[in-house]
Assembly symmetry: none
Homo-oligomer: 126 residues x 4
Amino acid sequence: MIIRLDLQSEVPIYTQLKHTIIEGIAAKELAPGEALPSVRAMAADLGVNMHTVNKAYQALKQDGFIHIHRQKGVVVNPDGMPPNDDVFVERVQSDLRPLVTEAVCRGMSSEQFLQFCSELFAEFKE
Amino acid sequence: MIIRLDLQSEVPIYTQLKHTIIEGIAAKELAPGEALPSVRAMAADLGVNMHTVNKAYQALKQDGFIHIHRQKGVVVNPDGMPPNDDVFVERVQSDLRPLVTEAVCRGMSSEQFLQFCSELFAEFKE
Amino acid sequence: MIIRLDLQSEVPIYTQLKHTIIEGIAAKELAPGEALPSVRAMAADLGVNMHTVNKAYQALKQDGFIHIHRQKGVVVNPDGMPPNDDVFVERVQSDLRPLVTEAVCRGMSSEQFLQFCSELFAEFKE
Amino acid sequence: MIIRLDLQSEVPIYTQLKHTIIEGIAAKELAPGEALPSVRAMAADLGVNMHTVNKAYQALKQDGFIHIHRQKGVVVNPDGMPPNDDVFVERVQSDLRPLVTEAVCRGMSSEQFLQFCSELFAEFKE
DNA sequence: GTGGTCTAGACCACG
DNA sequence: GTGGTCTAGACCACG
């Protein structure tokens, strides 16, 4: 799994890393139960600090995407992913809102917007 | 136009304000050429720091949503909205990506996701 | 509010700080809406690192005991405390279990144990 | 005696093992003088590291719950359990304190809390 | 070896 | 000024 970070981005490195790992799971490059590099190994790989990786891992653990075992190290949650619950639905809706309103202002059609969404789903849903 | 800010949100207040104003334009509550309250007045209204309002206004000006005149004050861009250009398209796609990948992981169907997008467009496109 | 930390303790400093703040709320020394010292001020007061205080604050925020505002700084949750929910009930039960089993082994009577609990409640419930 | 470990728990495995063995003694599943599996056998049974079992056993020996003989192996202390001394009383009180203060904050009644304690004692005191 | 905790110190976004 | 992020480096508990 190739991880590319944009150190110049507004998006914090740990958030980028979190997103990339979730993307890796969505793309089935990372299977449930599969091990992730240790905090130190990942940090060395990416050339970032251990704590930055740890922050991403803790956030992923908090959300239920990964488990952090004392023994096995870090693994993708073998019991499946966190659910499509109300909290997530609300987050999707509130994250979409400013994107859609700006699209409306700029004259991007709903068709084009939906097309982008569909293409992304197609990229991950085999 | 009623502006509700969530002071506990992770989203910076100036970003929330920017989003709300863009939403106001999308909803046609704010028409091109229409005046917005001065930085000072808006700050007093919302009970937030003048710096915060100023930052939101500057960002909106930068993106072409509003004009800031010394005399006429702040107005919604009378010449129309900024375009649906490549930069925006790329931003939409890169903002949608982490949302869609997490949706895929959590088992939210593309149909449900697209439905949310459609509903948002329906809310603003009369 | 006087905070005493035991730097030699097995209990991490940030956990001790978390406990002390919860105790301060239980003792009504800290009222809902009341401000706590900033991360830096608290760290300077206690002679510990900013990050250690921040970790305690983040944990308290996560559990709903405090709010961290960009503007007002850190305040005791003005909307009241987190609820006595199932998760807490289970935590109480699972934390009590090893304590009670060892008490049984050592011949501490349930009367004495309950007495200790009652005294603690009496100390905080006015 | 069935030992269930939660490998995902925050509680160290050796602590969980220690707790379980003390619980076994409290439940009279393990009688004074009764043999426990060797470090090696226990580790194999539980699928954990020998170091982990050894650490639990050493801690139990330190506290006076078990004896470790070169020849006879590991046995529950035949001379009875460690006493209900001041050190234990202080530990009970200091362990109860953060639990009770959080219960007070969350609005758990002392009655409910005491009830949980009583139920646990009832489970072990026949 | 691995994650957890802690420190010291820096820069930046936010207000 | 305040919290958020990030780095570099250290020690320790756990396994």
